[in-house]
Symmetry: C2
């Protein structure tokens, strides 16, 4: 299937096959245990699977291309109930966190995704007070949320405590986010957590998950977003990672379609540059519940000019109000598809 | 050396060493003949240098990371007077043009750079009539320039006719750009070509070159840009590729500094997403000569709404007026450096 730009999209059936294969290999439901294998049968940790001394990220979700980082030292390799977890020190990208063979964080470029996924939603509404982070177990998003002195409560629900542990050990400048006294850490399933939350609790929810295969698969599905909508106050906002416009337009089509059904406020797509993510970009879906109108593209607050934030956490490395607005400007091949979905 | 964002920059000395090594290996001046060798001594074509059956792009200009594409078939391998030229059919990125081991064009994402490097400058001035392209031997930029019905003359100076030949054979939808009757192709050195051009000839010059090592090295240096400025009319514009904000901030600093000395109109930096370029982005320097003021960020013409263009060439795949403006919005770590240089 070719997208409008003549760019071959990753077929839906490949993504579905990937989900199924993880379940089958594990011999259980899609949240089962076991070490997932790469398509060539080698371990999915990616080390030395392709280039000796390098980590290579290969997946059917980005078929035919591989991103590799030179490894100085493997710092941690382990397996939780949910996924393979690895941390290595790279030659030029700092420490790198890998979950099931997919790069989640590198010290060199983490600022881009962490700052954008936090400040795109939080700067779109006045005075958010209660914020929920689902996923984000490295602590980086918490660190960014804590810049807002008027935020009173920061809940985080991360399914895998191993991620929290390795982050505290190997990414201390991210895990420092856990030390803010307003943070309440819950280890568990985000879907179940939301069911326990009183209606209309949060001003903002940030879903900082891995890709749409386990353990994050449910975090892309309709029932989850119905719970998210219920947990937000009227005019509350949710921001989720939303894949790549270069690789996943058909998935993004579906995402926009589903969100439009559930969220009766604004529904918008933004994107930014992240060198170590597949195709070098990551997208964000921003949605609001029915209530005070929200114009996601034009921030109502400038966190980059917040003096308390700059003094206590240092200046922002990536986010600013201009790049906030710019993030909503899409290349034509993506704009045509997404605008069709939202109209 | 760490840039402001804590991101280690590629040391200047590495880039200089790369230039020197090409000259030494060739046994001549930096434009000498010979097959450049990779740092491990293997041929620099990148095929099977790292992953059997894959092409890997490795360079000290982006140390510690490698981008690899799966190869279906090598379509061409050859050597001109200036560089190694290879074309292969990739599994999921279409045909790929590689010069001296560095990806220049893939069919899948070429629209991004070709459209932005052309329309950022051409939409910044009213009614450009005479346009010069330096480099761009694949023809893609010519194809984009030819969308403008009011352009009367399109000169192109490409140093390597082998690039033109392989493009006509393997990238026909780009090389179709050569067929426009307004196009005048000159095979030769861009520096020498400009010296022969009467002062103030062009409305716009687009420098679509490879990176700042031979054979493109001179196209990044001060004497060349003095010739460019002389060849432009007052209020004429030049657009060049300008590396990556993630990898080359110190090089960009130098570029901005030099351009500010030469161009007395506007000097601005823009960037966009190109998955197959190192770090997934490419930058553009836009400069104008003294004359009618130019606001590069706000286009004066909407080529994406030009009916003749859309009918004859098809709709633009990437560029539109919104992403034109957005391209000038920089992440904070880059903004701080570039604004310091331009103020």
């Amino acid at each position: 299937m070719e997208a409008e730009c003549g760019i071959p999209a990753v077929p839906r059936e490949e993504v579905a096959a990937k989900r199924a294969s993880v379940g089958q290999e594990n011999g259980q439901n899609s949240r089962g245990k076991g070490t997932a294998a790469a398509e060539d049968g080698k371990p999915m940790d990616g080390i030395s699977a392709v280039i000796p001394g390098w980590f290579s990220e290969i997946s059917p979700m980005w078929a035919g291309k591989a991103y590799s980082l030179k490894v100085e030292e493997i710092l941690f390799q382990g397996k939780s109930e949910y996924q393979n977890v690895m941390v290595f020190q790279s030659s030029t990208y700092g420490n790198v966190l890998v979950l099931d063979g997919v790069i989640q964080v590198t010290e060199r470029d983490e600022c881009a995704c962490q700052e954008m996924i936090t400040h795109l939603p939080l700067c779109s509404i006045p005075n958010p007070r209660k914020v929920l982070v689902i996923g984000g177990g490295d602590g980086g998003v918490l660190h960014e949320v804590s810049r807002y002195s008027f935020v009173e409560q920061i809940d985080i629900c991360e399914i895998d405590d191993l991620v929290v542990d390795v982050s505290k050990k190997f990414f201390p400048h991210l895990a420092i986010g856990f030390e803010d006294p307003r943070v309440n850490l819950h280890i568990g399933d985000g879907v179940a957590f939301l069911k326990s939350v009183p209606e209309g609790t949060y001003d903002a929810i940030i879903v900082d998950s891995s890709d749409l295969i386990d353990p994050a698969q449910e975090l892309f599905e309709k029932p989850f977003f119905e719970s998210v909508a219920r947990s937000l106050r009227p005019g509350g906002v949710v921001c989720t990672q939303a894949e790549s416009i270069w690789l996943h337009m058909h998935i993004i089509e579906d995402i926009v379609n589903v969100r439009r059904q559930i969220f009766k406020g604004s529904v918008n797509y933004a994107w930014t540059t992240v060198p170590t993510y597949p195709s070098g970009v990551i997208g964000f879906m921003l949605c609001s519940t029915e209530g005070p109108p929200i114009d996601f593209q034009n921030p109502v607050y400038n966190i980059d000019e917040d003096e308390k934030s700059n003094e206590s956490k240092g200046p922002l490395k990536f986010y600013n109000s201009e790049i906030h607005s710019a993030a909503f400007c899409l290349p034509s091949f993506a704009k045509r598809v997404i605008e069709f979905q939202t109209n």
